[in-house]
Symmetry: D3
Amino acid sequence: MHLERATWTEIDAAETDLALLPVGSTEQHGPHAPLGTDTLNAEAVADAAAERYEGTVTVAPAIPVGIAEEHRQFTGTLWTSESTFKAYVRDIVDSLAHHGFDRIVLVNGHGGNTSALREVAGRITRCDEAYAVPFTWFDEVGEHSSRMGHGGPLETALVQHANPGAVREDRLEEAAENGSDRWGDWQGRVNLAFDSAEFTENGVVGDPREASAELGEELLDAAADALIALLKTIADRDLDRPAHR
Amino acid sequence: MHLERATWTEIDAAETDLALLPVGSTEQHGPHAPLGTDTLNAEAVADAAAERYEGTVTVAPAIPVGIAEEHRQFTGTLWTSESTFKAYVRDIVDSLAHHGFDRIVLVNGHGGNTSALREVAGRITRCDEAYAVPFTWFDEVGEHSSRMGHGGPLETALVQHANPGAVREDRLEEAAENGSDRWGDWQGRVNLAFDSAEFTENGVVGDPREASAELGEELLDAAADALIALLKTIADRDLDRPAHR
Amino acid sequence: MHLERATWTEIDAAETDLALLPVGSTEQHGPHAPLGTDTLNAEAVADAAAERYEGTVTVAPAIPVGIAEEHRQFTGTLWTSESTFKAYVRDIVDSLAHHGFDRIVLVNGHGGNTSALREVAGRITRCDEAYAVPFTWFDEVGEHSSRMGHGGPLETALVQHANPGAVREDRLEEAAENGSDRWGDWQGRVNLAFDSAEFTENGVVGDPREASAELGEELLDAAADALIALLKTIADRDLDRPAHR
Amino acid sequence: MHLERATWTEIDAAETDLALLPVGSTEQHGPHAPLGTDTLNAEAVADAAAERYEGTVTVAPAIPVGIAEEHRQFTGTLWTSESTFKAYVRDIVDSLAHHGFDRIVLVNGHGGNTSALREVAGRITRCDEAYAVPFTWFDEVGEHSSRMGHGGPLETALVQHANPGAVREDRLEEAAENGSDRWGDWQGRVNLAFDSAEFTENGVVGDPREASAELGEELLDAAADALIALLKTIADRDLDRPAHR
Amino acid sequence: MHLERATWTEIDAAETDLALLPVGSTEQHGPHAPLGTDTLNAEAVADAAAERYEGTVTVAPAIPVGIAEEHRQFTGTLWTSESTFKAYVRDIVDSLAHHGFDRIVLVNGHGGNTSALREVAGRITRCDEAYAVPFTWFDEVGEHSSRMGHGGPLETALVQHANPGAVREDRLEEAAENGSDRWGDWQGRVNLAFDSAEFTENGVVGDPREASAELGEELLDAAADALIALLKTIADRDLDRPAHR
Amino acid sequence: MHLERATWTEIDAAETDLALLPVGSTEQHGPHAPLGTDTLNAEAVADAAAERYEGTVTVAPAIPVGIAEEHRQFTGTLWTSESTFKAYVRDIVDSLAHHGFDRIVLVNGHGGNTSALREVAGRITRCDEAYAVPFTWFDEVGEHSSRMGHGGPLETALVQHANPGAVREDRLEEAAENGSDRWGDWQGRVNLAFDSAEFTENGVVGDPREASAELGEELLDAAADALIALLKTIADRDLDRPAHR
């Protein structure tokens, strides 16, 4: 049940305490994939899981701009500071909880949001009247996860499947050729780079030519299944916090 | 040119310094209109103006949650604090300006956002590398503006036209009957109420039965025309700030 | 009963939960009216209402500096940021409420403060142990309200009446001649200007030659009457917040 | 030249870079002295110095509410947080400096404001386009300073002189009898108390019966002389900050 | 060269722009390892690297309290909020840079600090006059890294080696028996727990009986070598940020 | 019982609600005394008192960086803003109190921290679940206190005694000769200087040649005795806040 399209009376009649908040980003994804890739993909996974879940789940509108300053050298990338991002997420989650939707999954489509979402979910869970956990879809696609990159095979494939026509197929070659094969500029386990422009010419990491709508469907199924399993688990979870030892 | 659907290379190739940032809200709009009414309408106006404008305009993804705590008694309403809202808007505008899109209109669909948008636009214009102004669509529809209400004829009509099927036509009667005929609880010119639940039973103000898709089309044309006129004006505007007297 | 002049024991003996907090500004009012016009006028209205009200009302000292950055090109204008202004107002209101004066009217003399006062009053009323509403005197003078301007007939007249000698009568001509006849630089319903120096040469909007002490007295009576009516209404108001629907 | 009473054109014509910002407090001063004692006294000293100084000095309106939470148990005491207080002072000082009044003395009437004023003056001086120093009048009255107390002989006397009739003379006896003879609840050099109600029954520290208008005049002269000497010194002071060693 | 023990004149005479800032935590490490484990280990690695590095490196005093709320159920654990932690780190780094030590490694001993350090290092590098990167010692010990746990073999071993006597050897058995074998409470790749008390009885994760001073020495050598390699790399690194594409 | 060296189980077994939090600074102390002087001395006093006190006292790790921007012209000086400093102290105190250590003394070694510690202790005591007071060691050494200076006889002596070898004895002559004999640049009771470089060439105020390890021992005894007396007093103190009058 999508908040954007439902009326308040319909939402009020729903019997559930589960909600999904898709969290995206507007940022470069190479010459072939749209700037909205992360938002589109987070929405696709949230929608699929909400639809297939046996029970009602409230789906909030996607947060369209996240923590993406690392892509600021590429035109069209939008970003917000980490503190503003966390405040925005927290306010939205708290208003969901105000209406009784107090078991919330933050369905994330962007690696740069991950640690901030974990932090704000902890703050919400410890301090507010809600339980929240982040779920990043590309971490939940089994072996495929290792091929993540940026604008690479996974993200590209999911857009191809869920938003047909949104990927510029005729630029996949160019995307692959001028991309990079790894995220970061490393000394040991330390990434010396803070901007993606330090290690990729056109913003791509990984080979998007490996993408296909079929792969996209497979990824969507895997991620949606994982999210459904998560919803089931938190639907029954005891939310009491542990006592002081 | 929509950021969400374009690639960074396409946006980079665009020759414009104009951008639109739709700003919506997710909040009750009575039993008949969707919670996303304000976002949908802001997007519709921004899209129409960008399409009809003679020249390129960048359109950012809509901000889906605004200042709507006043509707908190109605299920599904989401809100953020004024300070977080302004920070989120400012960060997005500043990142647009970072890429050269430094003449920005904040296309607003929600009355509760108005004064915050005015304040943040002033802050941006005085302190940052950008010029921004808010534009609230229902202020720009001529005589119709006086019938605004909430979930009333104007908002309902624009949804009917731009998002056919999104209004629950069979609940218009109920919406009108249990609604209120004025916004607020007044003593002189002072509104004593801070929550809409203080003066409307079902969240409606005004009579949505007066809405129609035809009226919606008329409203969209009027608002889009006004926005195009605004874009033309700011495209040529001298952005130097006045000197100290 | 003015806090500035009373002792704590006298205030402690007062039996009331009503308080007035005058809120002014120190900003240019043309070559003829003092920089403190807004503060002087807010104090005049608060004093008149407190004196004429049948019952005791606590009057806090006036806040002398508000949101006036828009006049920054004119020497002597002082301002604070919106966030600091709201924090300062909220702290003062909360300390009034701490002593039991928890029904508070913010008696405002400056248009630039209006939306911030509305916002902070809502925050206080929803979150703190107090009920607060803003009252802007020049909104409450009947038909006269339409002639407001800036340093125009209304403000000038009230200073003439309440603070005889404070207006430079010999500069009224000059004030009128180099002033502007409207506030703002408009495209449709959008004000393109953020600083008053963008549309007025000497800071004046409206014709202060229409002012007189007699008019000032009339305005004071009208505003004080409106404020008294407001005090009566909130003295009896049920302060419970509405329940979730 | 008082900002509140002058027009912007008069202030603009003044040739000075000196400004005084009186900083007061609204807080209990026993059963005999008004809650506005600190503001009234700061204004009296600033006024006297500005008038007697050979040269022009801009005088801003007094800040009426400061850091006085320590008196919160006594009705009518108003306070703001230290961070809000410092932000409010800084914004006002920065707007003075914006017009060229960039050598500013913060003329303080309240002990509780002292360390915050020192801190914010340092911040302004190091980071902004201004030089600011705090001046607390009762530190500058020679041997008398040791008798300060609270609502004691010094403060009471200055009110008696500068605001005749404002002290309730008939309650001096009572004030003295139920007051305390020292500020704080000490263990060695550590004050264990955070609220004045921990060590004074009626809010008084010291014996206000020792006050007189004559003493008040003497104090005013001493403080004004000290402030004038300070103005002379900072008028000529080299404002360059020292270089790194 | 340790700031704590050196004089300013000695530091001033040093010819280097490299600095290390050890970042620790005070938090439970089971019944056998001290609450200061993370600080002690960060210091040990920083000291070893600074000593062995061919060239001068400034070493700041260790930050003793970090982001450790997740251990709040265990007595003695101290923590600060993420925003305060980042502000504290940033201020210290900026003051190092103020003196010319503008290539800084944040030598971290606590997993909970990692993402905040990455974020603040990015902020510093993009906005301030410095380049900073975090280095977490236990990520840089080759294959051993996989055995990290909490109060487990790695941390225990390094304390045994660098701070002989600090580990309670007689409680290793108990530590291991009541500990947990994995960090977190997982559903797929989502950690449902926010407090360590949700999955470990005594605070331990991993088997500290595998620890030894010999292992500790090996870990210290590996981590110090990695840190030295990092110092060499950043000493020569071009600090210009990449241009907009 | 030092948190850094104890395990959580040992701290948990302690029966006390008393805690000491040493608060230092890393800042220039002339050419002869280490940058860590204030931290070392705060630790020495806290340690001595905790050891000699009849009863258990928890000792937190020292805060190593405080409010020292006034020494920024001298290499190696580190500082944090006042607001960050207070937030860091407050979080640490609150986490101590979370475990039941809710009577806390902030053992301070740096004059620049004093007023911020007083303010934050008041905030904690009024708003949080703890009672905190600051104790500055050099205020508690009887007549010696008047000779404080900076890097002068008192601080130097205490380092000599508590950290033998840490003072560069061979530079005492130079330290004294190029030092200053008073702190500040005064006009009446107003210190016109905000940076120590405005009045001391090498950072020293006072004559460190008067220092000796014997004097240091005497100072340590005096300060520790005073701190013990304070601990005894607050151990028994009624922590209820006074009621409204």
